[in-house]
Symmetry: C2
Subunit: 256 residues, 2 copies
């Protein structure tokens, strides 16, 4: 059996608003001699997509609300950052400041339904002081634009995923998860299949897109500025998928 | 840059109590022409380790307690299975039965500190009807035994991880996580490093072991009985690690 290969896509320059990210990724794939093949899956940290789309907020332009000021005082956070977080959120799930945390954490439900720290508002790798980066407005659509541009350019059928780095409620350390999908199945349902002993697997649904996202962390290094990875040799079938498919329905949320 | 490769280790026979799993994995690695190289990381679904160690319970031998009977009635579960779950647990975090669930779910804190459905007590792939499989008594020690046997046999320095398949609170689908570590770092701390723009990354701690575990799901197929995978080409340094390092301290548990 041939292995699954995870490649870093090297050489991506600093991304600026308005850049044609798909073209830049395509150039990097060619320069690295990787190209693209049918069945390849590309992952990109959302941040470079957000930058290309201009999803950058200058904190100097932000006027904190009273609610933002209250959270900022309680959590020792920048009130302007808190204001941006609140604007990106539909609810604050929990806000806390543990002993030893210089700055508290707000666990928020983002308007896209993602539950994460600070509504995924990010201040690292912004490339500019005094700015924060938001998620793309429509990560699925962003992934699809990259997919279609690269499929045309290379004459192949591929999948594209956008990822972000999330913490987990019960486990330390962060993993990348899929926040935007183009062609990549969210889960690989094994419902109804039988296990190796003929017993039906009723509830096994490998989170295929999140498995890929987490695996991308094995080659992506924040400190190294390598946001794009290439997966070659995966077993998968192209499908119409949306990142929202991976959100647990509120009725199944064990913490409400 | 050479890619990270994820290989299935094929040909593992049905595992029975008392089997020398390390020797069997070694034979499979040789037959497949994979062998082992310095820096390789092997992952194994815990289930084959549990079987080799005899961590199998015959439900016919289980006498349900009053507490087990109460949960069983409320959740439409087998009282004997519930009893086994309770014996493996230090607390029941939440028990629920959603509309449409034929059988309810108990989210439990396992004596090892892992929080998962039904205390990781498993009834699929048991190889025998009327039995359930528990986690290994000491998954780190189990991983270390396999590591040391294979390092001796192949004359290499490797890492070994045991995995289990867990659901996530806010996202659908399951991913594999690391429940036993031998040599593999639990997290790769990037604290103190700087991002590509010289800003300090204060809190980036990629969950290295869980990234590997999740990635193993890309080649492992429950329905295909391929519990062991080989990672080649990872960037890592051998360390004294324990799976318990990945447990979020109770004081940081945002749900207590």
């Amino acid at each position: 059996m041939s292995p699954v290969e995870i490649h870093v896509v090297p050489g991506l320059p600093e991304i600026r608003p308005g850049d044609d990210l798909a073209a830049m990724i395509g150039d990097c794939l060619e320069k690295a001699g990787l190209g693209l093949r049918d069945g390849d899956v590309l992952t990109s940290a959302h941040k470079v997509v957000s930058k290309a789309e201009g999803q950058i907020v200058r904190l100097a332009d932000v006027e904190p609300s009273a609610e933002a000021l209250a959270y900022a005082e309680r959590l020792a956070k920048d009130a302007r950052k808190v204001e941006v977080v609140l604007r990106e959120s539909v609810r604050v799930v929990k806000a806390f400041r543990h002993p030893g945390q210089n700055e508290g954490t707000m666990i928020c439900e983002h308007r896209l339904g993602l539950i994460s720290a600070n509504a995924a508002v990010d201040e690292s790798n912004t490339g500019e002081d005094g700015t924060v980066i938001l998620l793309p407005r429509d990560p699925d659509a962003s992934a699809e634009r990259i997919q279609q541009a690269l499929e045309q350019r290379f004459g192949v059928s591929i999948g594209v995923m956008l990822t972000d780095t999330f913490g987990r409620p019960w486990r330390l350390g962060q993993v990348n998860i899929a926040i935007g999908l183009a062609g990549v199945p969210s889960v690989k349902s094994e419902k109804g299949k039988t296990d190796a002993y003929g017993r039906r697997l009723m509830v096994t649904e490998p989170a295929f897109a999140d498995e890929i996202a987490a695996a991308s962390g094995l080659v992506v290094r924040k400190a190294g500025n390598t946001p794009v990875t290439l997966f070659r040799g995966l077993e998968w079938e192209k499908t119409q998928s949306r990142a929202a498919e991976m959100l647990r329905p509120a009725g199944e949320d064990m913490f409400r």
